[in-house]
């Protein structure tokens, strides 16, 4: 089978173009066999044998739908162009094949698992494309920006090369910032025996630090006994899971859980991120031999829901803008939190118009799954892959899109710009801090 030329196959990315020059046929065969026969067996076999090539998964995929139903972008077509061939040819493929397989698996699929919901047999196509990513990762053929993020995880255990001192310094700075709003706020560091460890992803300290200050205010208002680590292990994100470097993924997750155990907390509450939830709760623990997370992990959606529904946090004044929701795949399809998310938005906002399709059936943001981390070379392709998202959001007529996920947040920002939607994206955290009653006010 020859790969068909698409504009995407001409995108330049040294992580693919340069690395395939070092591949030998023996190395490819060795890695493909290792992954197909030693690392995977029953599910791979069942999925390959059960697929009847019916194409019913096609309409599930935002990439396929957005690209005028170009057959190359249907989920089953992505598997056909990559895994089927690797299996059929027992890994006897050339570097150019691996390059294209990497392009498809990393940049044209966000492993959002929507297609898995549309397959009558429940074939997990995201799992199949993660197998392709694993092969590419072991061969060193990974989009350069994504690999750089994985490298950051390997060195720092966080995804943005945040130095240890920068992390602590940022928390101390954010504590001061938050005190301007509520003078008694603290960000308690290294408090052994607190009830809660709060963990976030590296973009928070690096570029969105006010989210940390906001959370400190929310915890204060809720009367939470919480802490954050002043060591590595504070970042719950995991791009190594998506680049296919499961050893680094496991290392990162282990440190995260061991940090919570060292701090002797009852649970971890995590910020508004989707893939981090997946890594910390599903993929990471499994690689490490934990059936379930060793310490309960509460996603921000669940936490805000509990705060509002129990009355621990009261809403002073509702947010006035017209809002809609972007359901993140890893917490809605991946945790069933869609109803709680809507409860929060209803409680916080005056005017809410839901999306269609919604909840588990929502379209992927096309940024998660490591796709946005593939960086600038692939941005245009990513935009073309999600016209359907722009149409879906545009139809709501909302001015603000609420999404409790960093990948969704950045991905939707890009789509708004590219398709001139004139909307804004917000985390729940930002609206909650604006609308809630703060303790000093209630005392006064």
């Amino acid at each position: 089978m020859k790969f068909k030329k698409t504009p995407e196959s001409l995108v330049k990315d040294p992580g693919l173009d340069e690395t395939i020059k070092n591949l030998t046929p023996e190395r490819i065969v060795q890695v493909v066999n290792r992954v197909l026969t030693k690392e995977n067996s029953a599910r791979l076999q069942a999925y390959l044998d059960t697929c009847v090539h019916c194409g019913l998964c096609a309409d599930a995929c935002h990439t396929y739908v957005s690209r005028d139903k170009d057959p190359l972008f249907a989920p089953v077509s992505k598997v056909r162009q990559t895994l089927w061939e690797l299996v059929r040819r027992k890994g006897n493929v050339d570097g150019e094949f691996i390059r294209n397989a990497a392009r498809i698996a990393f940049t044209e699929c966000g492993v959002c698992r929507r297609c898995s919901m549309y397959c009558p047999f429940g074939i997990d196509m995201a799992y199949l494309l993660l197998i392709v990513r694993r092969i590419c990762s072991l061969l060193g053929v990974v989009p350069v920006y994504l690999q750089d993020t994985t490298n950051s995880h390997s060195v720092t255990s966080n995804q943005m090369w945040v130095q240890q001192d920068e992390w602590i310094d940022t928390l101390q700075w954010q504590e001061e910032e938050a005190q301007a709003e509520l003078s008694t706020v603290r960000i308690p560091l290294e408090k052994e025996g607190a009830d809660v460890m709060y963990s976030v992803i590296a973009p928070e300290p690096k570029i969105l630090a006010q989210l940390l200050g906001n959370m400190a205010i929310i915890f204060k208002a809720a009367g939470e006994d919480w802490t954050m680590p002043a060591t590595d292990g504070w970042d719950n994100s995991n791009m190594a899971m998506y680049s296919g470097d499961f050893e680094i993924m496991g290392r990162v997750e282990r440190l995260h859980w061991e940090t919570a155990a060292r701090l002797k907390v009852k649970k971890i509450i995590m910020g508004e991120c989707g893939h981090a939830f997946r890594g910390a709760v599903y993929d990471g623990p499994r690689w490490l031999s934990w059936q379930y997370p060793p310490i309960p992990m509460i996603h921000a959606i669940e936490y805000y829901y509990d705060l509002i529904s129990s009355g621990r946090i009261k809403i002073k004044q509702k947010y006035q803008e017209h809002v809609t929701i972007q359901d993140p795949c890893n917490t809605v399809r991946g945790r069933g939190l869609g109803d709680k998310l809507r409860y929060i938005v209803d409680a916080l906002c005056e005017k809410f118009t839901d999306v269609d399709p919604k909840q588990e059936h929502n379209y992927c943001c096309a940024a998660g799954g490591g796709v946005i981390n593939c960086g600038p070379p692939w941005k245009r392709s990513r935009m073309l892959s999600n016209r359907v998202k722009a149409e879906q959001l545009g139809k709501t007529g909302a001015d603000v899109i609420i999404t409790p996920c960093h990948n969704c947040h950045s991905g939707i920002e890009d789509i708004i710009g590219f398709y001139n939607l004139g909307m804004h994206v917000k985390f729940i955290n930002e609206i909650l801090v604006e609308c809630m009653e703060k303790p000093e006010e209630s005392e006064g």
């Binding site: 995977n40 067996s41 029953a42 599910r43 076999q45 069942a46 999925y47 044998d49 059960t50 697929c51 009847v52 090539h53 019916c54 194409g55 019913l56 096609a58 309409d59 599930a60 396929y64 139903k69 170009d70 057959p71 190359l72 249907a74 089953v76 077509s77 056909r80 898995s116 919901m117 549309y118 009558p120 047999f121 429940g122 074939i123 997990d124 599903y282 499994r286 059936q291 809605v332 399809r333 991946g334 945790r335 069933g336 399709p357 588990e360 059936h361």
Partner: protein, 215 residues
């Protein structure tokens, strides 16, 4: 030839079908144990819930999005499975050989159901040509499988209407039926056996582990 076809061939076909099925299920069970992360997450109730949603017509969003195909697909599978089991001619063979019998389809209905299978296979074949995605992922084996599935029904019809030499057509019918039974465990028709397994696993991963729906 005729005697061989209605005697030992049937035995061989069922032995291959049953033996092959046991082999495939046993192997997938053993491999899935080795994979470690499959069995601990299986949940009977969530698995059944998922299977139920996908066995009931229009039980999943994807089925509601394409009503014509859904109806066609359900009719095809129902007719494909029920017609051979409840066909008067087949039941009579069992009665002659083993003295057991069960309820049978009225001839006219069985005829319609057989025709439906052939029509459905034709539609599937046309869809393989017409739908760009399906065309892109269709392999030669997909065509062969369609022929294997259609053959017993086509030859059955020919025999019923006594087109061509009856005895030859019957032999072809018996051989194609036996072939169809025998290839089930070893081709993508294995989806018939694996459906409950893959579905139950996905249902468990979605419902039991992730508190989400997969339909």
């Amino acid at each position: 030839m005729y005697e061989f076809s209605r005697g030992p061939l049937v035995w061989i076909a069922f032995i291959v079908l049953i033996g092959g099925t046991i082999y495939r299920v046993a192997k997938i069970y053993r491999d899935s144990k080795k994979e470690r992360v499959v069995h601990p997450y299986m949940s009977l109730s969530h698995g059944m819930r998922s299977i139920a949603h996908w066995l009931v017509p229009f039980g999943a969003r994807n089925m509601r999005m394409r009503p014509v195909f859904t109806v066609m697909s359900f009719l095809f599978h129902i007719c494909l499975l029920l017609t051979p089991i409840f066909l008067l001619g087949h039941v009579m063979l069992f009665e002659q050989s083993w003295g057991i019998s069960w309820w049978t389809l009225p001839d006219g209905l069985a005829n319609v159901m057989t025709i439906l299978v052939v029509v459905a296979v034709t539609v599937f074949a046309l869809r393989r040509l017409a739908h760009p995605v399906v065309r892109f992922v269709t392999k030669t084996s997909d065509w062969v499988l369609l022929v294997i599935v259609a053959a017993p029904f086509v030859t059955g019809l020919l025999a019923y209407y006594q087109v061509f030499d009856y005895r030859t057509v019957m032999i072809l019918h018996m051989w194609s039926g036996a072939l169809w039974l025998m290839v089930i465990p070893f081709t993508r028709i294995v989806h018939m056996i694996f459906f409950p397994l893959t579905r139950a696993y996905m249902g468990s991963e979605f419902g039991h582990v992730r508190s989400a729906r997969d339909w």
